[in-house]
Symmetry: D2
Subunit: 346 residues, 4 copies
């Protein structure tokens, strides 16, 4: 349930509404919008009656939210959530690009790629320090050592860091380095971890599980939002189907569906979504064309010798060509490639 | 196996190669390319040896085709197949658009939509006279009467007709009206029908089955090509997955995969692929952005009262807006919207 | 809609009900049950009102059928349909077994296998004369020649023949030889063929399409039943999923679902369902354990040299071991292995 | 890689082999079998050469393991792993049954069900204290309070407890109460948790993820085994497909595949696998018929008012009927229902 109040409502009126909600053992969530203030309510909302609130001061409307997810739903907040990283943003007009290698392999490789991306104007650098791998015998990431290298990248190149957290134990150290904490597809329904990350208030990149429906994804986002953390970026990265010609089936239908159901930003990871580097540029363009707010793309200076996922990584040269195409495409879908502003050369 | 010869090879040399192939109880297929002449070979090719052909006059190269599909593979013919409809083409630079209602419902509705599409410059009109439906109790199309109406549309508006054939019995009458014969998803593996249609030499629009892999689709195309009919347009229209927020999961990954594996044109049907009209424009743009040669889109003047699939049909107004967007997008992916040339107004 | 009348209702009363139905442009279908006579109604039944029939002579009850399929639904007919083949039956207490090679390869192989199966007491012999194959270049069956061999098997061994029909052209000649006409997975939604086969009144074995839901399967059966042919055996044979360790995913859940939703017999094809011979016995037992009425199993005397699907065929020796196990299992699920009666030796 | 030695090999010889493995920075794992001692090797085994070990004392054979999973593979250990719970066992001849409600709801309900199951001779009681739920707003379990109730059940009824762990934080307290720690489908690829649980050496029940392949499942088991914990019970519980008539698609094919690929015991959860109580008995029988070592079944005294998953729970009465059927079925697949020994009455 959702209580709509004027943005200028006196604090006293707002507090009375919140107290009433708490009386019913439910939880109020203030969600300021551009023209209204919404008080989201979660908990046993079936006990509440519209009439209990309709006559209260400053209350304009009382709305039942029909979806299972509440705080992340478009009904709760009609305008798009824009997350601001002190300049670059995601969810608004700006096309949001994250790039980098699958894993931090060593300082030299990481610096080399980071340097090239910085020159192209990229602001967000991805690289895994902790790598969840199907087999315990494949490269699992440099772990703490990887985080240290990412911290150096942050200092030296001024890039913002996107990296995955796999468990509570390392959450604190990942938080110290990461500007955006990534939750991988395999952990999308690790609800304990979602709650802990929600509590940190850090921006979160939540990847869709490989057999998660769009509703499942939004319910997982709801776990984070329920900790009052609304800085959530959703990421479509391909689902499992019978098709074997590609690593996963990139479900771009999900982009307009999420945009309709939720106010959260949504980006696409075509590298995992198709799994073969030579089809990544086409799928990147498709993702933006159907309304995604951005992309997360694997870029590696030496894909053939990458320790993980080399076959799906673009070289910096191919990536630069893709950026040029994206720059042409952006205005057609009312987006803008701001990264050019801080590019040294392109 | 594939015998590559110079384009200027004397007919005598070509015939000798073909005779040798026939000696081994295999079948030769002449496939003229832009710079070379290829002789495709189908049948028990494992009996053939490269050496049998390498020393023959005018033979430049002998190639084993590694895919299960042969004639439709990119190895057989490296340049794109362009099908020419006496002006409009598919498979080349031109963006190819088919539009129209799901079914022919009556003359009035059909003429109304056809007229509006004609004014927008559309050349290809789709509408089903025979409708394969899961339930025997839902509207199955006007059948022969529907074909008659389509014939009138053809005469009156000069539109080319794309319509589905469901069985051998009606193949002859469909061929008389249709410029492109559509094979629906449910008949993609109706091999008897594929062979009969192949034999007509008519252009064919082959829709991917809802659980067909890309390889399955190309093998079905091979059934048609094996009848020496290369006028095949492939169509991605969504596959079945666990996701329930959309009617099907549009597998756009398939577009660059098909483009790499085959020389045939490929288009996308976002209306079935997503199943909800308000997401059709986004998915149309995505399809073209990832390299599709064209689109097939359901347009209805009164979607709410359509006899079939109304909820996935665009109104002419929405469709026109989409065409404008596509016109902006086309040059970015090296395509061109030629339909504007014969538009009365846009 | 369904009109329930007493079994002893005078013909005059029955005819009046049927005439009333026809007045509304709907179609009546007489479905005699064990204790009642039901008149099924198909067509635009929303135009009918319960009151129109409730007061008519001999009418006991008027029931709305909630499923999309009508004639094949359990609501239409509460007792199990038992199809009688002049002795052996399917759908009742008797365990129904069809066995034989994937294809008729030649007379010698076919006779050899048929002879061995006959000795084990098997009544129903399967073998394909027409083989739908994904690739046009793999063995497509002996066609007319194959049917001749099957006819000889029928005469010589007294076996009943189960063989697939692929198109209208060969329907007549298949009907002359086959005791049960098989419709393959790829043709499950070839509605034209379903209607033609329905009209022959021959017993039909309808295999589930590889991405068909249970509802789709029952709707396809409805196409046959709507031609007044109720001799339909449904067959689960595996669906397409992401799992690659088996050829298909055998969906045994479908067995109790079908049993609940429909009165038709249902059997399982574990050979296609798992695709590897060494797991066929286990899945056969599982199929019967969850309530299937029978099995269709591929048996080949020389699996390694079979022209199609050899890797999923049991040898006669392994098949005999399986029959012994099935004989032990049958009474636990209220079934009976009658085939032992006409076995020469086991 | 795997070094096969005689069971009676002198400790000195064994140690020398292990030291040599460690020299190459790999890890040795002693796996005693019934007739041989195997030393499994994990790590960068491509650096090892067969010749390095073949000439060592007591070494009988050196084997490359072809699967990605090693320690859990049948190649590593050819005889079935039997886990002994001080009387009852799983993986051998004995049919292993776990039963109980989805969740601990309160002491009364839990005691009521536990008492009835105890009377039927059941040894293993399941009930969730921590419930991973798609929505943050549905019942999440009684948590610590639930564990306390389970501990009382253990003391009062002498039942062994099977309950799920969701995170590291509660692992210690779950371990204190649980005899078998359950890892739910959503956590199957939570590798950090798998490693922590592996280290506890507690028996583990590992449920297949809803889009995990059999290989994925065995690789997750490998994470546990790599911590030298071989007390792993695998559990098939249904996968996600397009079918909507059942909650999941129970993939019974997986049972014989796992039995062939791995030495670990495998059980089936038909309650989640089909999702509707009235089809649970059939699927239970099917699971045992195809070779599963046991079952985990939801039983509730008042399914209609259960706080979670009531629609898939059997009543104690229906469950007792199922046990009787299983008792009849067991000998056919060389199993035995030992639970009858400690049943008070049945």
């Amino acid at each position: 349930m959702l209580i709509i109040m004027g943005l200028e409502s006196p604090r006293e009126d707002i507090n009375k509404v919140k107290e009433k909600i708490i009386e019913f053992s439910c939880t109020p969530h203030e969600i300021p919008g551009s023209s209204k203030l919404a008080i989201g309510i979660t908990g046993a909302t079936h006990l509440l009656k519209e009439e209990d609130f309709q006559m209260m001061h400053s209350v304009q409307e009382v709305v039942r939210v029909s979806k299972k997810f509440k705080l992340v739903s478009r009904q709760m907040k009609s305008n798009d959530t824009i997350i601001d990283f002190g300049g670059p943003t995601v969810g608004g007009k700006e096309l949001f690009i994250i790039a980098g290698p699958c894993s931090v392999e060593n300082r030299e490789q990481t610096f080399e790629i980071a340097g090239q991306l910085k020159e192209m104007g990229i602001n967000f650098f991805r690289a895994g320090a902790y790598k969840p791998r199907s087999s315990p015998y494949t490269f699992q990431g440099l772990k703490e050592k990887g985080l240290e290298i990412l911290d150096e990248v942050k200092q030296k190149f001024g890039l913002k860091i996107v990296t995955e957290v796999m468990n509570s134990q390392s959450l604190q150290s990942v938080c110290e380095v990461a500007d955006i904490i990534q939750i991988g597809a395999r952990n999308m329904q690790n609800y304990s971890l979602l709650e802990e990350i929600g509590a940190t208030q850090k921006p979160v990149l939540l990847k869709r599980g490989m057999s998660a429906t769009v509703e499942d994804l939004l319910l997982s986002a709801e776990y984070i939002a329920a900790q009052s953390n609304y800085n959530i970026i959703l990421c479509e990265r391909g689902i499992r189907t019978f098709e074997t010609s590609t690593r996963n089936t990139l479900d771009l239908n999900a982009v307009p569906v999420i945009k309709q159901w939720s106010h959260l930003p949504v980006i696409v990871d075509p590298s995992h979504g198709v799994g073969i580097w030579d089809k990544v540029p086409q799928m990147s363009l498709a993702a933006i064309a159907c309304g995604a707010d951005g992309l997360m793309i694997e870029v590696h200076n030496d894909p053939e010798n990458a320790l993980s996922d080399g076959y799906q990584s673009l070289t910096p040269k191919k990536f630069k060509e893709l950026l040029n195409k994206l720059n042409e495409l952006a205005p057609i879908v009312n987006k803008e490639m701001k990264l050019y502003e801080n590019a040294n050369s392109l």
